[in-house]
């Protein structure tokens, strides 16, 4: 190729495009290539959504079925019964507390152990305390019986379903083997030998048949090849197995079976009535007791009131039981609601598994609140300091340092929480001069507060970097204009810089929130992993309770669940919720920034 010719055209040679393939020139092809790889972000986001939904999809259906069985088998009825029992248990615990406090008061008043023992074991006291405690046994026994019945119904139903699947498999196999041209493969051989061996223990077959089978089994064990006659025997064995399995299925008629749970309604009513009477007798003994402390007397009075309430609720309770209808429809919406708003996450239980998101969601939010409570002032404060106040040297050191901090792996921070920080918090809470705080000393070293503080350290770099960027992007002249009218540095910062950068700062905080709620390892290691909704009645103490989180539960339970089970799908549902929360947070953060831009123009 001669360059001379190329660059010195006789006639302008740009009047024809050169096409390489499909009538496109090379640049369009290259562009298409890059363009297609650019869509990868969209594709990945789509795939994430797809796979989360693919795995989570069956959840509602399975859970719905499970809840239907919960109702049909009468487990729901039993749970209504249990409400009463739990009320009684709570009352008993209240009484036990009173007794313990009484003993403490006696001790404080200077009585010796012997004297105390005498005081709290007078016949009246015994009649009151022990008399009260004794009243639950009959109710408990009744409820336990009913519960066992209901569980058995449900379990039998589950077994039937599994056996049904097994039968379907046998049917398929038998159909296949019935075909005379069927050739037994290695898998069949193994199965054949196994069935042959098992059938030897079967008492129903005749001696001749058994001997024959014993012989064949012996042969096959010696690696003898299969013969055509084996096909027939194999079929026979399969059919035997089929029949045996079929016999194991004890069909459940829910309508009939549940009667066994709901029957004895009258007996139960009687039990409650008797219980009420004998409780009243026990309570009457309280009159004779002298608690010698106004507060205790007050509590005993309160206890009596509570018992009145307890009796009063009997009618409503019985009414609820009477109204309960096993054939009532379980609405699909209720299934969804019991996931999104369910207060319990109980798995692998022998009664009913509950997949309620609320404890996890509340745990995640509680930890986020703590983390942001620390991270916002520190992150934004440090950003203001570094950008507005610090000397250039400080700035050049602090910025990379904080960026470096953001690279500390979360698992290392979690580890630090487990070995150092949790213990430090507990020791701190045991300090004498802090004992006036109602929730100190704290019970658990790993709790929402521990995790929250450590997460704050992880959120600070995010908030710092983004907020610092936002402040940095403010045009110089804003600041100069403020200084020019005689404002101080602080005034300029608080009245000009921060308000102008506010949307950027808000967006930074939101992304920090996103980081906190999506963080896994720290909460998994440090949050204490107790799956209950924390007790908000404790005021600030609620922050020092162990909680579990959405991210934590996935990480903890995913490795141990059976693929395809309700539990497995429930975890994916939690993942979906998490995914959408993060999308919403991200999107709103962008929205805030965009809105601000319009104002800025």
């Amino acid at each position: 190729m001669s360059a001379e010719k190329k660059v010195h055209p006789k006639q302008a040679d740009f009047h024809r495009k050169r096409a390489i393939a499909f009538g496109k020139d090379s640049d369009s092809i290259i562009k298409a290539f890059f363009g297609s790889s650019a869509t990868i972000a969209i594709v990945v986001l789509g795939l994430i959504t797809l796979f989360l939904f693919k795995e989570g999809a069956g959840f509602l259906k399975l859970y719905h079925t499970s809840l239907k069985e919960y109702r049909l088998s009468g487990l729901e009825y039993v749970d209504i019964l249990k409400e009463k029992r739990d009320d009684y248990t709570a009352l008993s615990r209240y009484l036990t507390d009173i007794r313990a406090d009484w003993i403490n008061h006696l001790k404080d008043s200077g009585m010796s152990a012997k004297e105390i023992a005498v005081t709290v074991r007078t016949p009246e006291a015994k009649a009151f305390f022990m008399g009260y405690m004794r009243n639950g046994s009959e109710m408990r026994r009744f409820i336990k019986e009913k519960m066992d019945v209901a569980i058995e119904i449900r379990d039998q139903h589950t077994t039937n379903k599994n056996l049904g699947d097994t039968l379907a498999n046998y049917t398929k196999k038998i159909e296949a083997v019935k075909n005379p041209n069927y050739i037994l493969n290695e898998e069949d051989r193994a199965r054949f030998i196994l069935l042959l061996k098992e059938s030897l223990n079967n008492g129903e077959i005749s001696i001749e048949v058994r001997t024959e089978r014993q012989f064949r089994y012996g042969e096959l064990e010696q690696e003898t090849p299969l013969e055509a006659s084996d096909l027939l025997l194999y079929l026979q064995l399969l059919e035997e197995q089929y029949n045996a399995t079929e016999r194991k299925i004890k069909p459940i008629d829910f309508d009939m079976a549940v009667l066994e749970v709901t029957s004895n309604y009258d007996i139960y009513a009687e039990i409650l009535r008797k219980q009420a009477l004998s409780i009243q007798v026990a309570l009457a003994h309280a009159e004779a007791l002298n608690f010698s402390h106004p507060e205790l007397a007050q509590r005993v009075l309160r206890f009596k009131e509570l018992n009145e309430l307890y009796f009063d609720s009997n009618d409503a309770h019985l009414e609820k039981l009477a109204q309960w209808d096993p054939s009532a429809k379980t609405l699909f919406l209720r299934t969804l609601a019991s996931f999104l708003m369910g207060k319990e996450w109980i798995t692998a239980s022998d009664q009913q598994d509950w997949y309620g998101l609320l404890p996890l969601l509340v745990g995640s939010l509680l930890i986020s609140v703590i983390a942001l409570f620390f991270a916002i002032p520190f992150g934004v404060g440090a950003a203001i300091y570094v950008n507005q106040i610090a000397s250039p040297l400080e700035r050049n050191l602090i910025k990379p340092y904080i960026e470096f901090v953001s690279a500390i792996p979360s698992v290392v921070i979690g580890f630090f929480g487990v070995v150092v920080f949790g213990e430090a918090i507990r020791l701190f809470s045991q300090l004498d001069f802090l004992s006036w705080m109602p929730f100190f000393p704290i019970q658990e070293r790993l709790n929402a507060f521990t995790a929250g503080c450590l997460l704050a350290l992880m959120a600070i770099p995010t908030i710092f970097t983004l907020a610092e960027d936002a402040i940095n992007n403010i045009p110089r002249h804003f600041k100069e204009a403020s200084y020019a009218v005689g404002a101080t540095q602080l005034q300029t910062t608080l009245r000009v810089i921060v308000p102008t950068a506010l949307s950027g700062i808000i967006s930074a905080v939101m992304l920090g929130f996103g980081r906190v709620i999506g963080e896994t390892m720290v909460v998994l290691l440090c949050a204490g992993n107790r799956i209950t909704i924390p007790d908000f009645s404790e005021g600030i103490g609620v922050f020092f309770q162990p909680v579990h989180t959405m991210t934590g539960i996935i990480a903890q339970e995913m490795g141990e669940v059976v693929h395809g089970s309700v539990h497995y799908r429930a975890l994916f549902m939690v993942g979906i919720v998490l995914f959408f929360i993060s999308l919403i947070i991200n999107y709103s953060a962008q929205w805030v920034v965009k809105k601000y831009r319009k104002v800025g123009d």
Binding site: S26, A41, E55, A407, I408, V419, G518
Partner: protein, 400 residues
Amino acid sequence: MASEIPHSFVKRSSHKKRIEALAVNLFRQMTYLVILAAAYIFVDITINGSKAVFQSTAPYVNVQFLTDKPQTLHVFEPRETYETMQQVRSQILVLETKNRGLGESDPELSNSYAQQIKALDAQYESLDAQRKETRLKYSDREYRALEVSPDLSNYKHDTYAYSGGGIGPAIIGTCLLVLGSIAIALVLGLLCAVYLSEYSRPGKILQAVRLSILNLSGVPSIVFGLFGFGMFVLFFGWGVSLIAGWFTLAIMALPVIITASEESMRAIPRGFREGALALGATKWTSVRTNVLPYALPGILTSSIMGIARVAGETAPIMFTAAYALRDQLPWEGLEHPSDFLFQGVMALPYHIYVVSSKIPQNEYTRDMQYGTAFVFLLIVGFFALTSILLRIRVRSKYKW
């Protein structure tokens, strides 16, 4: 009025100034508190971790810890010393209870109790030192190789899972995971970035791509883990494997790499592209010869930050690539070369999770726990520091 009338610009201290100074100080203290909190973590892990990683005799690095496989730790404590220690402990407790019961009533007796407690404490300390000297520690392999195992009538035998041996496979696993995932992420990210900065035209698709990248960067790591598990492990049937981990981590690192690459390419002045185009270069030629070479240092630098992030993640590999314990190195026991990709590996972050949540914390497990955390922090910190320092250099060097 004073005799000397101050001019109106003289410095005056006022209430306002004090508040100003106070506020400035508050901001400063907040900043330094954050710095100190992070520094405390570094220092704590460094000090305790160095005990496991370094040693006072040559070669000064605990090679066994860095290369060996994790094993159960067998500890034999001299029974006699142990029992004496228990006795002393209980004596101290008895004396302390007595002392407390005494209250203020008999200062003399209380004093003598205090003396006794002190003496017992000293005895306890010396016994403890003796115990530390005479106890025997074996990793599982050493224990099995013993010809005569210690006499159990003289020794108390305890075992601690994961606490013996070293973290060799975990280091190797982490390196493999990081290298593979970053290679995949770089290729994909670079292609995407070239399109975004060089070829894209504003429009619906571009908006969708940008929105997706932004949103992708906010997705929680555990969700990436779930996704990887659903897609690579189950749907593609790769199982818990190196390759599933690669792709999961690569997808996580993508947003960082795309954003960083695009930024570096946009920083290349327009003139470079126009100059080439005006000479009759095709678009691709101008990108290839006049954009990519100059953007590459920036791209690589920022990508190292992506590496640090990827290496630090635990949640995405928990169910896609990591095994809690695997006593074979990745290249051992392969029947087929492709098995290399389809095997699970140990990884440092997951190992830290395992040793800090599944085994108790005491003096025997401490070395393994802190040592792993320290080595991991060192590796991640190395990447992050390199990235930060290189970026400062690149920024000052390539000013167009």
